[in-house]
């Protein structure tokens, strides 16, 4: 194991490219290698798919076994099959937070920034890679949940098809919803730099707050709950507005969630760039 010879005398120095600089494309490659080379990524994404499809299937099986009193007109078969997203948002939030907090908990961040000191590049590449991976996994999750759910509901003649109004938008919206939730947690992770704190904050914002506003007086609730990230964002994976007529429509609601995510990411970026690593 004792190696004192560093290089054969005749070896060519490894030269940097003559022009340019280590940039965004290099950072994307690097971040993709990072995300694909830890087991936790695979386990979390697998959990996301299984949990979402499983819960959606259970919800649809429940409806299919007791279809009495459900009118096909009022029932949102698409939303029912995507019910697993309520839990899926928490799974992806955990991965989003971990994407950046694991660099702090392991100390890897110091190594990462010592090879690419332009922090905005690192932060953006990490976010883009995570978003793309999540979007693709989200599409698998969303379409998988939809087809499994509809197959179960078809027994009760309650199933929807992709050709019906808003259905395709809602199924794709499920993947967008997951991506936005993940990015919100990514931003929070950059702000808090601590895995447990970031995951708690993300779950608090997505889940706990949604539950808490239910306890507000009705007059307040109507003006508050539509601005809550998870409730607003969930409009995009339903074919009809849910939670009351005062809620935002599908894309409006998604824009509210995206706004929350953008705010977290911007604060995260500013802190990531300015704080000592």
């Amino acid at each position: 194991m004792t190696t004192t010879q560093i290089a054969p005398a005749a070896r060519q120095r490894l030269l940097p490219p003559e022009a340019g600089r280590a940039g965004f494309v290099d950072a994307l490659r690097s971040e993709f290698t990072k995300i694909r080379s830890t087991r936790s990524t695979y386990w979390t994404l697998l959990a996301l798919i299984v949990v979402c499809i499983g819960i959606g299937a259970l919800a649809c099986a429940g409806t299919a076994s007791h279809p009495q009193g459900i009118s096909a007109a009022g029932f949102d078969a698409t939303q029912q099959s995507l019910a697993g997203l309520y839990v899926g948002q928490l799974v992806i939030a955990a991965l989003g937070a971990l994407t950046i907090t694991s660099e702090y908990s392991t100390g890897m961040i110091r190594t990462s920034l010592a090879v690419q000191p332009r922090r905005g590049v690192v932060f953006a590449a990490k976010g883009v890679v995570f978003a793309v991976v999540t979007l693709i996994t989200g599409l698998v999750t969303s379409f998988g949940s939809f087809f499994v759910g509809q197959a179960i509901l078809s027994g009760a003649h309650l199933s929807a098809t992709l050709g019906q109004p808003n259905v395709l938008r809602a199924v794709i919206g499920g993947a967008l919803f997951l991506t936005a939730c993940g990015m919100l947690a990514y931003g929070l992770g950059a702000v808090l730099r601590h895995t447990a704190a970031a995951i708690s904050a993300a779950i608090g914002l997505l889940f706990v707050v949604t539950v808490l506003v239910q306890f507000l007086p009705h007059s307040w609730q109507d003006s508050v709950d539509k601005w809550m990230p998870a409730l607003a964002g969930s409009q995009v994976w339903a074919t009809k507005v849910t939670g009351g007529a005062h809620q935002f429509p599908a894309w409006g609601g998604f824009a509210v969630l995206a706004g929350w995510a953008a705010a977290a990411i911007i604060v995260g970026l500013v802190l990531f760039r300015t704080r000592d690593a």
Partner: protein
């Protein structure tokens, strides 16, 4: 070349680095020496832009670190061997770093071979021993084939074989014309490897000189003599301008006169000598003396009122 000008870093009300100005010249090993807590790691973090200076600046090859086009080609650093994601294999760890600077994949295999980790390249680094982790960190530093290498306490906690390996590696890297900037809290570590020394204490620069100069300037030359007539010789030495301390069995330790002069004095006065030997304070002693006032935490011997110099212990309990 690394240049610091008035580099200052304050954490709360504590000055970690206090107006450091120095130049790490190319093509030699510069030892960065100071007691624990003196600001060595902070200085290195400032060089890499991990911390932002409160005042002053530091440049690598004339540029701020974050403005280097391909940082890994300019400077390879090993600050903390544990700064890796333990769930990632050694190969993938190095690959993601190489990719960040557009370094070809083949280079990953080269550096793994160089540090002798080829056999465990596919293993997750969580299970690595300290020595293996250190090798992985060095492999990462070498990826870009950089002109400057910076190591923070590279031998800390290593076994003798590992220490020897790192020492030889640094010498070999310097022989290739690279600049090596290596920190340590042990003078003995630098004595054999460094060409030049930067000594800091409490964030301030206390010495910036060659190793030879450091020894000359800081170690007190003393002469040990043994004679049946110590009193007589002590008087003669005192008359000639030296000082002595008497020991048991006719031993005298003289300071302030060269060894030849003491031998001559004895001969001229017909004093029989049984021993005459120059003794040099070790570099470790010289270093501890120099930094004694700048050690952050001082241990006092229990029971003794005020600590004399010999009571002062290095915060890590380094034996001299």
């Amino acid at each position: 070349m690394i240049e610091a000008r008035g580099l200052t870093k304050r954490f709360g009300d504590k000055l970690a680095v206090d107006q450091l100005s120095f130049t790490v010249e190319p093509g030699r090993i510069t030892g960065f020496l100071g007691p624990n807590g003196a600001g060595k790691t902070t200085t290195m973090r400032l060089i890499l832009g991990l911390d932002r200076p409160t005042r002053g600046s530091v440049t690598v090859h004339g540029k701020e670190f974050s403005r280097l086009a391909y940082p890994m080609h300019e400077i390879g650093a090993l600050l903390d061997a544990k700064a890796v994601h333990g769930g990632r294999s050694a190969y993938n760890h190095l690959l993601c770093l190489a990719q960040a600077n557009g370094i070809p994949r083949a280079r990953v295999g080269e550096v793994l071979e160089l540090v002798g980790l080829t056999d465990v390249a596919g293993k997750r680094s969580r299970g690595f021993s300290l020595g293996m982790g250190q090798r992985l960190g060095i492999a990462a530093a070498l990826l870009g084939d950089p002109a400057i290498l910076m190591f923070d306490e590279p031998v800390n906690g290593l076994d003798p074989e590992g220490i020897l390996w790192i020492r030889n590696l640094m010498k070999a890297l310097a022989a290739e014309g690279r600049t090596i900037f290596v920190s340590s809290h042990l003078m003995s570590e630098m004595e054999n490897t460094a060409d030049h020394l930067l000594v800091i204490g409490r964030g301030r620069l206390i010495a910036d000189c060659s190793v030879a100069e450091f020894i000359e300037r800081n170690s007190v030359q003393s002469v040990r003599v043994r004679t049946p007539k110590p009193e007589l010789l002590a008087d003669l030495i005192a008359a000639a301008g030296g000082t002595t301390v008497a020991g048991a069995g006719g031993v005298l330790v003289a300071q302030g006169l060269p060894v030849d002069r003491i031998g001559d004095l004895a001969f001229e006065n017909a004093i029989r000598l049984h021993e005459l030997a120059p003794a040099q304070a070790s570099l470790e002693e010289a270093f501890m003396e120099l930094t004694a006032d700048s050690v952050e935490f001082q241990a006092h011997t229990p029971g003794s009122g005020t600590a004399s110099r010999t009571d002062r212990m290095h915060p890590t309990g380094v034996a001299s």
